[in-house]
C-alpha cells in the first residue's frame, strides 16, 4: 500500500530444528513462481546470497519448474557468498582448464562489511540502473537492454528482496546497522516485500527480538520432539532422527491495527520439498481414534448438551442474590427449597406438613441418636 513500509517476513530456526534453509528455499521458489506468473505486486526479485552459491539457487529454481527465461528476466542474485571480503581480488585467480560461464543475472559483491554499499547494490540491482557496470563482461549489448527493460518495466515497478542468511550479515557488521539496512529497504518505495532467514541460536536473544520488531511476520521453526538433558546418546540419535525432517512452524503475524495473530502448522521435508499440514487435523484424528468402538453412543447430542447446561447444581449459587440453601437431610421439608411433588422415595423427616389424603413416611435418622465423638469403634463387633 502507498505510504506503508513493505511487509517483512523473518524465518528463524535453530540447531534443534534446522529446516530453516529448506523453508526459505520453498518460500523463495513460490515467490519467484508468483512473480513469473504476474500474480505478485513485485516485478522482480533481488536475492542477497550469503549462505549458498548463486548456482545452488539457480538450480533450485530450475528444479522447482520455474522457466529459465523468467529466472533470467525476473531474478537478480547479489553474490555475497563467493568473495564477501574481496580476497579473490587480492590473490591470483585460480587457473583451471575450464572457465565456468558467468551468469548474466549474478553480480558479485565483495564488501560485506560495508552495508551502505550493500544497500546501494541491492537497490541498483532492483532498479536495474547500474546493471551494465556489474555484468558488462558477460552480456552483449542487445541482451543487456532486453534484460533491463524486462526487469524494470514501468517506472514504479517494485521488486522483492530476499536475504538468505542475516546471521552471516551480522558477523560482518553490528545489529544496529543491520536493523538500519532492513528499515531502509522496507521504507524504499520500490521494495514490495522482504524475506530473510536467521539462525536464532547463533546470536543473543535480543538480536532475534530486534529483528522481530522490524518484521510484520515471524515464522519460527520448532522441533517436533523435545530433548531432555538426561537422554542417552542412543535416545539422542532417535531424537535427532525425528527432528531431522519434521518440525512445527509457529507464525506470528502483526496486523496494521496492532492485533497479533498466531498460526501453527506442521511441516515435513521430503524429496520434493517442504510440505505443510495443519496441526488441528492431526489432533482431531488422534482424538477420534482414542474413543473405543462400541455399540452405544458415548457422546452427547445437542439436545442433551442443552439439558445438561440447565441442571442446577446443589452447591452452586445462581447469581440472583438468593441465599444458598443446601438440603442436608436434617431440616424439615418446609425449611428447605420446595419440592414440586412429594414422592415415596424422598426422605421426609418428622413434623412434616402433609397434605390430607396423601400417605406419609416418617424417617428418623440413626445418626441423630449418635453422640458426637463416640469412642465406639464400629468394627468392635467384627468376629473374624
Amino acid at each position: 500500500m502507498e505510504g506503508e513500509h513493505a511487509p517483512a517476513l523473518t524465518i528463524e530456526d535453530s540447531l534443534a530444528s534446522s529446516l530453516g534453509s529448506s523453508v526459505f528455499d520453498h518460500f523463495l521458489a513460490n515467490l519467484v513462481s508468483q512473480i513469473a506468473a504476474g500474480k505478485s505486486q513485485a516485478r522482480g526479485l533481488v536475492l542477497v546470497a550469503f549462505n549458498r552459491s548463486p548456482a545452488f539457487y539457480l538450480e533450485l529454481l530450475r528444479r522447482k519448474g520455474v522457466d529459465a527465461q523468467h529466472v533470467d528476466k525476473r531474478v537478480r542474485i547479489l553474490d555475497c557468498y563467493s568473495d564477501p571480503l574481496g580476497w579473490k581480488k587480492r590473490v591470483p585467480p585460480l587457473k583451471t582448464a575450464q572457465n565456468l560461464p558467468v551468469k548474466a543475472n549474478v553480480a558479485c559483491f565483495s564488501d560485506a562489511r560495508d552495508t551502505n554499499k550493500l544497500m546501494a547494490s541491492i537497490l541498483d540491482l532492483g532498479k536495474g540502473t547500474s546493471y551494465s557496470e556489474l555484468t558488462a563482461t558477460s552480456c552483449n549489448v542487445l541482451n543487456l537492454v532486453y534484460l533491463l527493460t524486462e526487469f524494470v518495466g514501468q517506472d514504479k515497478s517494485r521488486f522483492a528482496v530476499a536475504i538468505d542468511l542475516v546471521s552471516s550479515l551480522l558477523r560482518y557488521t553490528s545489529l544496529p546497522i543491520v536493523a538500519g539496512l532492513v528499515n531502509k529497504l522496507r521504507s524504499n518505495d520500490q521494495t514490495s516485500c522482504i524475506v530473510w532467514l536467521i539462525h536464532s541460536d547463533l546470536h543473543e536473544q535480543r538480536v532475534s527480538a530486534a529483528l522481530a520488531y522490524v518484521s510484520t511476520m515471524v515464522a519460527s521453526i520448532q522441533p517436533i520432539a523435545q530433548c531432555t538433558d538426561e537422554q542417552t546418546s542412543q535416545q539422542n540419535s532417535v531424537w535427532l532422527g525425528k527432528n531431522s525432517d519434521k518440525a512445527k512452524l509457529h507464525v506470528r503475524l502483526k496486523r496494521r491495527n496492532g492485533r497479533v495473530k498466531l498460526l501453527a502448522e506442521e511441516l515435513h521435508l521430503d524429496q520434493v520439498g517442504v510440505k505443510f499440514t495443519a496441526v488441528g487435523d492431526q489432533n482431531s484424528n488422534a482424538a477420534k481414534s482414542l474413543l473405543p468402538k462400541v455399540q452405544f453412543n458415548l457422546q452427547l447430542s445437542e439436545q442433551e448438551r442443552v439439558e445438561r447446561a440447565k441442571v442446577v447444581l446443589p452447591y452452586e449459587h445462581q447469581g440472583n442474590g438468593e441465599e444458598i440453601q443446601i438440603y442436608d437431610g436434617r431440616r424439615s421439608l418446609s425449611d428447605s427449597i420446595s419440592i414440586s411433588q412429594p414422592s415415596v422415595a424422598s426422605p421426609v423427616i418428622s413434623d412434616t406438613q402433609v397434605a390430607p389424603g396423601i400417605g406419609e413416611i416418617h424417617y428418623v435418622r440413626d445418626s441423630d441418636d449418635e453422640q458426637p465423638d463416640s469412642d465406639e469403634d464400629p468394627d468392635d463387633d467384627l468376629d473374624i
Binding site: 545452488f56 590473490v91 591470483p92 585460480l94 547463533l202 535427532l240 531431522s244 524429496q271
Partner: protein, 265 residues
C-alpha cells in the same frame, strides 16, 4: 606393507559417510567433534589413509596445527600408508602450521590476521591449481584441518576471522570438486559466546561426526561411540533427509574396528 590394509575394505564408517571406492564423498563439509575422553584424531588418520589409498583419484591438503608431519607419518605408516611417498608424488600437500605465530607474522592487528588467513587461503589455491593443471582437472581435492580450535588460537582468539577463512574454504567446495574435513573439540567452549563457533560449524557442515565415551563408563573392548548425522544422506543438495548413525569403535594397533552396540561378541 600389509596388503590387506592397502586395499580399502568397507566398514560402518565408510558406509555412513558414503565414501566411494575412489575415495570420493557425496558431502562437501564434514565436522569431527571429539572430547578429551574420546579423541577423534583416529578419524582423521582413517580418512587420510582412505584419501591416499591406491584407488583414490584425488589429492589432500592437510593443515597440521596439532602435530608435526613426522607424527602423522609414523601413525599412517603403521596403518600401511607412506605419507612421505604421497607427498613426493604431490598427492599430499602438508602445510606445517605447528608454529601458531604464522598469522601474526605481519603484526597483531586485525588486518594482519585477515591478511595471514588470506595468505593461507592463497597457498591452498596454488596447490589446487598445480594439481588441476597436472592432472588436467581430474580428481577431487580434500582439505583436512587438524584442528580448528588451534586455528582460532593462532588468530588470537578471533572466531570471526577463523570463520571467514572457513567460509572461503567452503566456497571452494561448491566451485570445485572439493571437500573439507574439520576436527574440533566440543568440550573446550564454556560460555555461550564461545560456543558460537561450534554452532556456526554445525550449520555449515553436511556431516557431523561426534566421538564420545560410553555412557556406562570405560570398557576394555569398546573405546567409545560415534554418532554420525548425515544431513545430505541421499547426496543431492538440500533435497535429502538426514540420516543418523550410531555405532561403537575399538582402537587397535594398526586399525579401528567399528561395530553396532551389542554385536562385538
Amino acid at each position: 606393507m600389509n596388503p590387506s590394509f592397502s586395499s580399502p575394505t568397507t566398514n560402518l564408517l565408510d558406509e555412513a559417510l558414503g565414501i566411494g571406492c575412489t575415495g570420493s564423498v557425496p558431502w562437501r563439509i564434514a565436522l569431527v567433534q571429539d572430547c578429551v575422553e574420546a579423541s577423534g584424531a583416529f578419524l582423521l588418520h582413517h580418512l587420510l589413509k582412505r584419501s591416499l589409498s591406491a584407488e583414490a583419484a584425488g589429492a589432500v591438503v592437510f593443515l597440521g596445527l596439532a602435530q608435526p608431519f613426522s607424527h602423522y607419518d609414523r601413525v599412517l605408516r603403521k596403518m600401511g600408508c607412506n605419507l612421505s611417498l604421497q607427498r613426493n608424488k604431490n598427492k599430499l600437500h602438508f602445510i606445517d602450521l605447528l608454529d601458531l605465530e604464522f598469522l601474526v607474522a605481519g603484526g597483531t592487528d586485525q588486518n594482519a590476521i585477515e591478511d595471514g588467513f588470506m595468505n593461507l587461503y592463497n597457498r591452498i589455491l596454488r596447490f589446487i591449481e598445480a594439481n588441476n593443471l597436472m592432472h588436467n582437472n581430474g580428481g577431487w581435492i580434500r582439505i583436512i584441518i587438524d584442528d580448528i580450535s588451534l586455528l582460532e588460537i593462532a588468530a588470537q582468539g578471533s572466531s570471526s576471522h577463523t570463520f571467514d577463512f572457513l567460509q572461503y574454504c567452503a566456497t571452494l567446495t561448491s566451485e570445485l570438486d572439493c571437500s573439507l574435513l574439520i576436527l574440533n573439540h566440543g568440550d573446550i567452549y564454556s560460555s555461550e559466546e564461545d560456543q558460537c563457533l561450534l554452532s556456526h560449524l554445525d550449520y555449515l557442515s553436511d556431516v557431523v561426526i561426534k566421538a564420545e565415551t560410553l555412557s556406562t563408563g570405560i570398557a576394555v573392548d569398546v573405546h567409545g561411540q560415534l554418532t554420525i548425522i548425515n544431513k545430505r544422506a541421499l547426496g543431492e543438495l538440500g533435497w535429502s533427509s538426514s540420516k543418523v548413525y550410531n555405532f561403537q569403535f575399538k582402537l587397535k594397533e594398526n586399525a579401528v574396528e567399528f561395530f553396532y552396540p551389542g554385536t562385538k561378541f
